[in-house]
């Protein structure tokens, strides 16, 4: 038999794996030319839509809060002195110099759009999201985080994602018993608990358990049940069952994300092949954290079967380890999209490489924003066993479908335009109250988006009313994120600090007074004289936490009152 025939036959043999629809004439796009072979099968291979569903929505939700909570506080530095250099000279040539309002407004707008798209994904909206987020970092080199560029690449791939609805995914309910779906919910929660715990974020279990051993046990049990529950309690899937058709589909946008991650890890590993990295000098400069110090101290004494090593050897071994982990991570991401094919479930084990790398990065306290959170979430969705990820989707999809159905039924005809208008109005009212430059501009642009959505819905005779609800909900969450956290305090204290450095005391005083007005967690636990650990709203809570941490920890008020007073004195002196 010729090689070509063999290839053709093997492609047919794999058909049940990739061509998952029982009604191929209706669903399947025409097959690619045989010449594309292995690569085409890789690009258009079957992926569980539970993964695409959770990856798209989870990432967009994280992005929304990232924009509001982590990025907005840095907006005050934009436009100072009228100086700016964009990442691309064409932006400098075409657009005016960005100001604090431009940056903060575009980030609030991007967050609102990301949140709404997480609940009502719509392809034009996803394309606009990719453009607005990219503009957010590209407008100035003040934002030079490389992972923001990575997120733009992911958002580009999202535009081509299968926009699986919750209704479609509800088919999974048929093959997951209630107990299995509870297991799926525990998987999601347990994943958050373990990952958030590793990077010291607050979690529900952390609030429940003060004892670290009990906390660890609870987290491990939850995750274990989340993994094993769906495996044991899942109903047997019949061959060609409708749920299989709905769940396994080609998703080249998803494959593009896994390949993008593989490329990033590959190049990052290549970068570290320089002598300065391999001999550990670079790592020793950035790896200054308690956890690393403790590990180094143990290595210098000798760990288990390993002999004691000197500091130079320790850093060299760690640096080479990081390179190896990144190369394995690159391979893992490259293969991740094939995990839902028969006999590939072992790929889940490869998640250990990227997980260990990002947990390590967080432990080292590298200043990389929320990058590790994104990657940890991505790793969980990409590599979790199919049974667990589908049980997780089955746990949340039916409720989402029910809510979505109810909204779609309620917002028919002219009522959809009312919903869109109310969404815009809620956004405008709430953004007027946040007292950040650009917030009202963001609301204006959201209004414009909703206006065009309405025009589009009218022309195409489609129903877009739920988008108005999604934007309204987004505005409420944006308002809470911007006002109930330290976002505004940080924004104004940074602005105050900059004016103070430049001798603009009246402006600095104004900013410091605003910072103090918007301080939400004034009582901070310190270790020693200067190391701030956590801040709390209530002094009693902070005192309790300091006592729990033991000697050397105490509570101090953390505000900008001293700086404000200093500015008052200077303004008074200058005025006199």
């Amino acid at each position: 038999m010729s090689k070509r025939k063999k290839r053709r036959r093997s492609a047919k043999a794999s058909a049940p794996e990739s061509a998952v629809s029982p009604t191929p004439a209706k669903r399947e796009a025409p097959p690619l030319n045989e010449a594309h072979g292995v690569l085409a099968r890789f690009v258009f291979g079957p992926v569980s839509t539970a993964r695409t569903f959770l990856l798209l929505r989870g990432t967009l939700l994280l992005l929304a809060f990232d924009c509001w909570i982590d990025l907005v506080p840095h907006g005050g530095r934009y436009g100072i002195g009228g100086f700016n250099v964009a990442h691309f000279s064409v932006l400098d040539a075409l657009l005016p110099t960005p100001t604090a309002g431009t940056y903060v407004g575009s980030l609030i707008f991007t967050g609102l759009l990301a949140f709404a798209m997480a609940f009502r994904p719509w392809r034009p909206g996803l394309a606009l999201l990719c453009a607005s987020y990219t503009y957010g970092w590209a407008m100035s080199m003040l934002d030079s985080y490389q992972h923001h560029y990575l997120i733009s690449l992911l958002l580009f791939s999202f535009v081509f994602f299968p926009l699986t609805s919750a209704q479609r995914l509800s088919a999974l309910k048929d093959e997951h018993s209630t107990a299995s779906r509870v297991g799926g919910a525990f998987f999601l929660w347990g994943s958050y608990e373990v990952l958030a715990g590793l990077v010291d974020l607050p979690t529900p279990l952390r609030a429940l358990f003060t004892d670290d051993t009990l906390l660890g046990g609870a987290r491990a049990s939850m995750l274990l049940f989340g993994f094993i529950g769906p495996l044991l309690l899942r109903r047997e899937r019949e061959a060609g069952a409708p749920s299989e058709d709905r769940v396994l589909r080609p998703a080249w946008g998803y494959v593009s994300i896994t390949v993008t991650c593989a490329i990033v890890y590959f190049y990052t590993a290549v970068t570290k092949l320089s002598p300065d990295w391999r001999n550990g000098d670079a790592l020793s400069r950035i790896g200054r954290s308690e956890a690393f110090d403790a590990l180094k101290a143990r290595a210098l004494e000798g760990m288990g079967p390993f002999d004691a090593v000197d500091a130079a050897t320790f850093w060299s071994v760690m640096a080479k380890g990081a390179i190896a982990v990144q190369l394995v991570s690159a391979a893992a991401f490259l293969l991740a999209s094939t995990q839902d094919r028969k006999g590939r479930s072992w790929l889940a084990a490869l998640a250990l490489a990227p997980l260990s790398f990002h947990v390590g990065a967080e432990t080292m306290g590298l200043s990389i924003g929320w990058f590790s959170y994104y990657m940890l979430a991505v790793v969980v969705v990409l590599f979790a066993p199919r049974s667990a990820i589908e049980a997780a989707a089955a746990a949340i999809a039916p409720a989402m479908a029910k809510a979505s159905d109810a909204l779609a039924k309620a917002l028919t005809g002219p009522r959809q335009y009312v919903a869109l208008a109310v969404g815009a109005l809620i956004t405008a009212v709430l953004m007027m109250e946040v007292d950040l430059p650009g917030a009202l501009g963001a609301a204006f642009y959201i209004g414009a988006v909703l206006f065009f959505v309405g025009v589009f819905a009218h022309r195409r005779r489609t129903q877009r009313g739920p988008l108005g609800v999604a934007f309204g909900a987004a505005a409420i969450f944006a308002f809470i994120s911007l006002t109930a956290t330290s976002v505004r305090y940080d924004y104004y204290r940074f602005v105050g600090g900059d004016h103070r450095r430049r001798g603009e005391y009246a402006e600095a005083l104004n900013a410091y007074e605003k910072a103090n007005r918007y301080l939400v967690t004034p009582y901070c636990v310190y270790e020693g004289e200067s190391r701030k650990l956590e801040c709390y709203r209530e002094e009693s809570t902070a005192e309790r936490e300091a006592a729990r941490r033991g000697t050397g920890h105490f509570v101090r008020r953390n505000d900008r009152e001293r700086q404000a007073q200093e500015m008052r004195d200077r303004v008074a002196r200058d005025g006199a």
């Binding site: 669903r27 594309h36 085409a40 690009v43 258009f44 530095r77 100072i80 002195g81 100086f83 700016n84 250099v85 000279s89 009502r120 994904p121 719509w122 392809r123 080199m141 003040l142 030079s144 490389q146 560029y149 580009f156 791939s157 081509f160 299968p162 926009l163 699986t164 609805s165 919750a166 209704q167 479609r168 080609p250 080249w252 946008g253 593009s256 390949v259 993008t260 490329i263 190049y267 990052t268 970068t271 570290k272 320089s274 300065d276 990295w277 000098d281 670079a282 400069r285 950035i286 990389i368 159905d405 779609a408 489609t462 129903q463 739920p466 988008l467 900059d498 450095r501 430049r502 001798g503």
Partner: protein
């Protein structure tokens, strides 16, 4: 019957397979090529889009000084009063486009010539040759430091 779900209108594949395939391949090639351009250009400091996170170059420690000449007299500039600290950090990282923009700005504001000098140390703490960017405002000509360390 359930009301129609808007997103279902778009839940099928967004592009024809052949178009999707072309977009995918082009996107991947672009991602492979863009970081490679770093290794082909002479500006080793501009590590954007090259996935060189925490590279040894990124960890160089530099101190930045700017001087400008007016009426034939050269005086040091108080950078902190002119631009945000974040831009001073960019100057310290030898970001060429930022250095050029700053030089142009000072020339536009009436200087005769402007210099930015970065004194850097590598990750072992060894001093590196100074990096000096100079603009002669009359001609608008900018002299960049020579590439080194390659």
């Amino acid at each position: 019957m359930a009301a129609p779900e808007p997103e279902d209108e778009h839940s099928e594949e967004p592009l024809k397979r052949s178009t999707a395939y072309a977009v995918f391949i082009a996107f991947v090639i672009l991602q492979l090529v863009v970081p490679l351009t770093y290794y082909m250009r002479d500006d080793q400091y501009d590590e954007r889009f090259a996935w060189r996170m925490f590279s040894a170059i990124r960890l160089y420690g530099c101190s930045t000084q700017a001087l400008e000449t007016r009426d034939g007299v050269e005086t040091p500039l108080e950078l902190g009063l002119l631009i945000h600290n974040a831009w001073i950090n960019h100057l310290g990282r030898n970001r060429k486009s930022v250095a050029h923009a700053f030089l142009d700005r000072r020339c536009d504001e009436g200087a005769e010539s402007v210099r930015i000098i970065n004194q850097c140390r590598d990750v072992q703490g060894e001093p590196l040759p100074p990096q000096e960017y100079v603009e002669t405002c009359d001609s608008g000509a900018i002299a960049d430091p020579e590439a080194w360390g390659e």
